[in-house]
Each structure stands twice: as C-alpha cells, then as structure tokens.
C-alpha cells in the first residue's frame, strides 16, 4: 500500500461532541419522566426507560476515541483503464472503535465502481482495511478530493467527524500505450517527419551525394563505376548512420472545461505515440511541454526515457487556469538547430505560434499537428448566452490566430488539422503527403 495521508483520531477534540441522537434520547427520556410525574403514573416511566438506560450507559462507558485512519492506494503505476483500489486502514488504539464511517470524494478522472462510503468497527489495538474500487478512466492527474471520517461510540451518542480536504492526495494516471500503438505505427511516424538521416555527410550506407575526389578523401569512398566513366576519380558521399534528433513540442495551452481536457488528452496521446515510435527506431527523442511553465526533457534513447516522457506528459492534464499564466520562460534555446520538431498544438496561443515561427526561421524542419478543439456546447446555446463583448473578443482572437497560421504556412511549416472524429492514421498520411510536397519544393 502506498500511503497518501494519515488522519489521527487520538486527541481530536472534534470527536468528543454530542451527537443528535444524544439530544433526542435525552428529550424523550425527560418527557417520559415529566409525564410520569405529572400524571402520577409510574407506568409511563416505561416509555422513557430505554432512553434513560441508553443515556446512562453512554455516559458510563464513554472513552475518548483513539486511533488513526491511513489512506493509500494499492499500486504506484496506474494506467488509464486500470481498476485501482483506494485503501483505508482504520487503526484502533487502546479501546474499541465501535462505529467508523469513512467517505472519500474523488476527482473526475476516477469513476467509483463501488460506494465510496464504508462503515466499519475495529476492536481495541486492531486494524481493519476498507477497499474502495475505482476505475482510472482518464489519463491525467487524479485526486482524492476529500476524505471524511465520522466516528461514534456504540450508542451513537458521542463522537464527531473529521474532514480532510485532500488536495495533496494525487495519483498520476498514465496513457495506455497499447491503445496508442494500435492507432499509430512507428514506421508511419518515421515517414512523417521526412528523412531521418542526418544532413551531415559521413560513413553510412545511404548515398547523399557524389562529387570529384578532393585531397583528403578516403580511397574507400571512390565510386569506381563513375570514375571509370568520367575518367577521373569521383567519390560517393554518404549520410552517417546516425538517427536524427526529434523534439516533440506539446502545447499545454490554457482553456476551460471539457474542450481543454479532450484537446490535452489528444495532444498527449499523439506526443507519446510519436515519442514511442521514434525511440523504437533509435531516434533520440526530446520533449518540450510549453504552457504555464516550460518542461524540457533533452533528446535521449531508451525505454526509461519513454517512461519519463509519459510521466512528464501527465502534467499537461493539470495546467492552471489562464489567469495564472503571466510569464512564460523562453523555450527556443532548448532545441538544437538540426533537430526535427513536431509540435502538437491547437494553435490557440499566440506565444505558441511565435515559438513555432522562430523554430522554423532558424531552419528546423517543423510539422504541426493541430487537434481541433471541440466546442463547449451547442452553437445556438453558446450564441444565446454569449455577450457581445465576448463575441467580439472571440472574433479578434480568431482573426489573430488565422494571421498567425498564415504566417506559419508562408514560412514553410507543415500544418495538419486533426479533427475530433478523424483517426490518427489519416492525419499522419496527410502530414506525410505535405512533407513530400515540401521536399519536392526544396523546403527542408
């Protein structure tokens, strides 16, 4: 069990309160006594006798509640679609805990499979575990939003509740890799971003160029067939056997509601699949998440690096609101000049458009996958509730975005729109076609 939090019951003054049942029992007992005395009928005492006895017993047997409640989860690595057990251990002190109610509240990423409330009792110095099954439905950072523990004595007359706003209890739900690999093949990605061979010339297998022999050239590189035909020594130049660095830029743009969540999920899914594909082909892959802050993983190889990328991508799901983003650190310096850049961005953010333009102007081959943002609600309803100022602002933002997109196109950035209902494979084919046409036009 991986522990999130421990709630101490021992010494908690909140658990020493009178419960409503005590007041009710006292009222009924007093009413019966008064009635018996007023009517001078001792038999009426029998109506209130159980309440009197219960009150007396509750007073006599009361002991302060001692113990603790430990909250945790059964696994460290959670992938979307997994069933996770949130575990709550109720530990009793020197006395019995006669009735303990535990209730959890979880964020949207988790769907309860059973009731998130449990009632238990624990013998003295004992421990009892309660398990709450939840389904990790959606990738991202899931939270146990709150936990409340209500404990009473055997009679339900003394006790209280402890509530812990549990923003600290967070779990990272990773993207399901096998689901992604079904949609996006590695080979396909390799062809998307154009040639993976370095533009440097070196000792590889792929022919880069031929030219007349120059002093310093190795005789091993002489192309005998052409040399014979031209009657002078010519050499074959080859690309080095080195894969290109690829940097995936993910736009953790600000937004609101479900549209943002869906876009982030698609962006992260595409980015992870891209990284996975290239790493499989031994291309060093870097990740740059640009949002409220800049998160950078330099290009590296290996499965561990893929896990690091997956872990880093989870942070995309937890971006703060737009009002918090006042400053964005510069991101351009992280990416090398020869690196192939694939940006996944809805291009809603002018800063992101500027970053892509700068990368392109430096000479980096850049492809932008542009996931379409789903509307928040029915257009008619939106139009009705939207104020004229908001509508105008929206139009300005759209115009600014269009200008930015046109600017990117004119600089030779391959832009591919990715509609919500479009399979990733179709989008990748479109990117491939675009790269080929750019190559024919002499645009790197």
């Amino acid at each position: 069990m991986i522990t999130f939090d421990v709630i101490k019951l021992t010494g908690n003054r909140e658990l020493r309160r009178r419960m409503p049942l005590f007041d009710v029992a006292l009222t009924l007992a007093l009413a019966a006594l008064v009635a018996a005395i007023a009517t001078q009928r001792p038999a009426l005492l029998a109506l209130g006798a159980p309440f009197i006895v219960a009150l007396a017993a509750a007073f006599a047997l009361w002991k302060p509640l001692e113990g603790s409640v430990v909250v945790g989860v059964d696994t460290a690595h959670i992938v979307e679609g997994d069933e996770v057990n949130l575990l709550v251990d109720v530990v009793a002190g020197d006395h019995d805990l006669d009735r303990v109610e535990v209730e959890l509240e979880v964020s949207d990423h988790l769907t309860p499979l059973t009731s998130l409330r449990a009632i238990t009792s624990v013998p003295a110095s004992g421990r009892r575990r309660v398990s709450f099954a939840v389904s990790a439905d959606e990738w991202g950072i899931a939270k146990v939003e709150g936990i409340s523990v209500r404990a009473t004595d055997r009679f339900g007359m003394f006790g209280g509740a402890v509530q812990r706003p549990a923003g600290l209890m967070t779990m990272r739900i990773g993207l399901a890799e096998e689901r992604l690999s079904a949609n996006l093949g590695a080979e396909q990605f390799r062809s998307i971003v154009g040639s993976h061979l370095s533009h440097d010339r070196g000792d590889g297998l792929e022919i880069a160029d031929i030219r007349p022999w120059l002093p310093g050239d190795s005789v091993r590189n002489i192309n005998w067939r052409i040399s014979n035909r031209r009657q002078e020594p010519w050499v074959t130049l080859r690309h080095p056997d080195r894969s290109a660095n690829v940097v995936v830029v993910v736009d953790a743009h600000d937004g609101t509601g479900d549209a943002q969540r869906i876009t982030h999920r698609r962006s992260a899914a595409a980015a992870l699949a891209l990284a996975r594909g290239h790493l499989k082909l031994h291309d060093p892959v870097g990740l740059l998440v640009v949002g409220h802050t800049v998160r950078w993983l330099p290009p590296r190889l290996g499965r561990n690096h893929l896990l690091r990328i997956a872990d880093e991508l989870i942070s995309v799901s937890d971006v703060p609101t737009a009002s918090l983003r006042l400053y964005r650190p510069p991101a351009l310096s992280y990416i090398g000049r020869e690196t192939i850049v694939v940006a996944v961005s809805p291009l809603q953010d002018p800063l992101m458009i500027r970053l892509i333009a700068q990368l392109r102007s430096r000479g980096n081959p850049v492809v932008v996958l542009e996931p379409e943002i789903a509307p928040d609600g029915p257009p008619r309803l939106q139009a009705r509730v939207e104020r004229p100022v908001t509508r105008l602002a929206r139009r300005f933002a759209l115009a600014e975005r269009e200008a930015g997109v046109q600017s990117l196109r004119s600089h030779g950035v391959a832009l591919v729109s990715w509609k919500a209902d479009e399979p990733a494979t179709a989008v990748m084919a479109a990117v491939q076609r675009m790269r080929q046409s750019m190559a024919r036009a002499g645009v790197r």
């Binding site: 009222t27 009924l28 038999a43 009426l44 029998a46 159980p50 009731s115 238990t120 009679f155």
Partner: protein, 174 residues
Amino acid sequence: MATWHLDRLFRSATACLTLAAGLIAAAAFLVNAYRENDNVLGIMLVGALLVGLSGIAGSVWTTAFGLILFAAGSVLANPPDVLIAVAGCAGFAALLLIDLSITFRGAPTALRSVWVSAAITFAVVTANAMAFVAVAYLVATRATFAALLLPVAVIGIGYAVRLAAEFHERTISK
C-alpha cells in the same frame, strides 16, 4: 448467499426506515387493541408516518416528534402497563433504526459487525430498561411516588449545568 442478502437488507437505509415505521405502526395496533379509553390509533399512526419520514429526511429530531406523538397516543389509550413498556422499547428500537438508516444512506460498504453491534446494544439496553422499570415501578408502588422527583431534579439540574458550561466554552472559543 443468504448471508449476503441479509447483509444487503440490513445495510439498506430504506429497509431500516421501513422497519422502524412498521415497528411503530405494529406497536400502535397492539396498543389500540388493548385500549381502555379513546380510539387513538390515528394519532399513533401519524407518529409512525413521521418516523418513516424522518428516515427519508435524515433527521432524528423528526423521529423524536413522531415518537412523542406515539407516546401521547399510548398514554391516552391507557393500555396495560406491560404494553406501555413494549411501546417504549419499540420507540427506542425505532430511534436506533432511523439512526442506522441515516448511516446507511448511499448503500455504503458495511461490516456485519455494525448491525450486529446495534442489535446487541438494543437487546442489552432494553433488558436493562425493563429491569430499571421494574425496580422503579416497585419503588413507586411501595413507597411514595414523589421519591422519584429527586433523581429527576438531579438529572435535570446536572444537564442544565452541562449545557451552560458547553455554551460558555463555545462562546469563549469564538
């Protein structure tokens, strides 16, 4: 399987409140069958209805109102003393059941020990209460009934002091 169904039944809020209201209604019919005075079945059934509603509302104070109505009916009906004792036990059981029904809202996962503990509590308290009533009845019929005034006064004063102290403490802490 039978245990599972039993557990489901006992940790069902609806079952608890139905049982509570049904218990009061049954006691009402019983008291009414042995009444000596007016027909008070209507009042007692309204009490049972209030008890049932209190389970839905999640308020034990509503249960208290229902039980007061039920007790008033029992007093007016003037049944034999044993039946009054039975009515008192039914009222206490109803209160415990309503408390359980409030606890069991939302069909939580519950250990069997929770309702077993409630049942044992009810049985022990009822047995002790009957013993207490027997003693009190004996004292009241053998000695002067006014002798009961002293413990009542002591309890009343003690509780008033406690309430005052708590109120004072809350006022200071604010």
